[in-house]
């Protein structure tokens, strides 16, 4: 499994979003996509998933252009965790996770459905809420259920759009360790992440997007530099080495010692 994007440009509703992005993802690595709001992270992920056809350049999965893949065959190769979790009807959590097995219907792998679904639900800590109705879950519970659905799909390529956005730290670490484990098991994982410290801690490779351009692509220690990040985000940051872990700390706009300008003093 190799995903290769060469000189990809893409637009949404006639508005150019991505410009000349070249990136390759191979099995065994966890790639983090980071960048400021509106940089084109989700659009890039959509190109990788085959939802958006590039306006120029090529997006190839195993040498075949993504939009030439049959829908069913592609679903056995790549899974996508969407940013927003929606469900039209009140299916139970277990039913939602089972939907991830849809691409394997009428194939020999179908026999493994129960084992795979139970395994995926254990790994995302949703087994205890299996009988609950999906629309009644909290945002984080929904995200974990959807992540279980993605795991149940058992695809070599896994695309995650902000998998940790609604999660507390325990479940954030749990989801990202599962993502790491997927990579260690030989899957290729691409995740859009907002927290740079989290991205640096878990990713093998970090790609920094800004204004639709790929600004940096490398290991966390190569990419996480105060000058690069400060320029990309338009905000000065400190990059600290804390016992071998990289911590990105944005500068404060108002210094704590300064006089507050708007908050009234408490008596």
């Amino acid at each position: 499994m190799t995903l290769r994007l060469t000189h990809v440009s893409a637009s949404l509703g006639g508005h150019p979003i991505l410009h000349d992005v070249t990136i390759e993802v191979v099995p065994g690595e966890l790639v983090a996509l980071v960048g400021p709001n509106g940089a084109g992270k989700t659009t890039l992920l959509s190109v990788m998933s085959g939802d958006i056809v590039p306006s120029s350049g090529e997006a190839l999965l195993d040498g075949v252009s993504l939009h030439q893949w049959k829908v069913g065959a592609l679903a056995r190769e790549r899974a996508v965790l969407p940013q927003e979790q929606r469900l039209a009807f009140g299916f139970r959590v277990v039913d939602v996770v089972r939907m991830g097995r849809a691409p394997w219907a009428r194939l020999p792998e179908e026999d493994l459905d129960d084992v795979v679904v139970a395994g995926a639900m254990t790994r995302t800590d949703v087994l205890t809420m299996a009988e609950r109705s999906f629309p009644t879950l909290s945002g984080g519970e929904k995200a974990r259920t959807s992540f279980a659905r993605v795991l149940a799909q058992q695809t070599p390529l896994v695309l995650l759009d902000e998998p940790t956005a609604a999660l507390d730290i325990r479940h954030q670490e749990q989801v990202l360790s599962e993502a790491r484990r997927l990579a260690a098991d030989g899957h290729a994982v691409v995740a859009v992440l907002h927290d740079l410290t989290v991205a640096a801690a878990h990713a093998d490779r970090i790609c920094v997007l800004a204004d639709g351009h790929l600004r940096a692509d490398g290991t966390p220690s190569e990419v996480m530099r105060a000058d690069v990040l400060g320029e990309v985000y338009g905000h000065p940051v400190d990059v600290i080495d804390h016992e071998g872990r990289i911590i990105v700390l944005p500068h404060l706009l108002i210094h704590p010692t300064e006089e507050p300008t708007c908050a009234p003093a408490l008596s």
Partner: protein, 366 residues
Amino acid sequence: MTATLPDRTATTSDVAAVLPGHRSARATALFVVLGVALALLTVYAAGRGQLSIPAHEVWGSILHRLGLDLGTMPTHPQGENTLWQVRFPRIAMAIVVGAALSTAGALMQGIFGNPLAEPGVVGVSTGAAFAAAVVIVFEIGFMGAWTTAAFAFVGGLVTTLAVYALSRADGRTEVVTLVLTGIAVNAVAAAGLALMIFLGDTAAREQIVFWQLGSLNGTRWEYVGVVTPLVVVGLVGAMLMSRKLDVLSLGDRAARHVGIDVERLRLVAIVLVALLTAAAVSFAGIIAFVGLVVPHLIRMLVGPGHRVLVPASALAGTVLLLGADLIARTAVAYADLPIGMLTSLVGGPFFFWLLRRTRKTAGGWA
């Protein structure tokens, strides 16, 4: 294929045993209850009317027709004729039309991912009715009894496609957009229907008006023979796509990510909805709210899974319509009430209750 299996394959059964099963016990109970209700209601309805026939005589007549010389035959000289020329065709029609309407409702709610979608609400019934009125007014008959059904099918198909194309934006259908589109499409189709009433002679007018109210009066076996195959095709088609309909509730994009060809699925489903609606409308007229109410009730009882929802809705629809038709023809002596009036009378308040309930539990649909 590099997909990895969980490393616990040794304990396969233990792991899988943790999962809650399908709601099969509840579904089975529902099917049994509905099946028994249908059988009892059929025999009861056959006996009721201006000429009252006791249940054991109805059984006797049915068994006799099946080649079993058991039980008592109807004692009234007109009994046998009344049963087989008037009542049973009408009961059969109520059964197939009820199944068609509720299956169409379940299917449409599934493909729009929207609990408000129903052929009546979004104007598909009116579209089919308009096309059928064209047949009545211009006395088109090149396909015999099938002409009305064929026209209604085309009318229903065009309106469904119109609603579909007009109400979708960014790959999903907002509830408000769907309802407003339905109003617009309904208005256009109703204008066409009004034009047909204006153009028709007195006899055609009367026929259109009565048929707009919905009625199973005057059903003949010949009509049942036209409607039944259409409904069977629609029902079987709906059941074949039930697993895919489940996945479609994830939304278009996520459904595509798990391998569903969403556009093709929707197109096939729309053709099936038009087929089912046309089958129901062509001889029974407009019977509203059945397709909206029935799938909702079934979903409350056994959950939203379409593998149970579609057949259970079909069965519940037959029971509902059979009961409604029984009331329509027996509530007032020597009068045959329009069945569409009855279903709307009950369906309207139910719809309102549904709105209030959804508002309370899920913060509304919009």
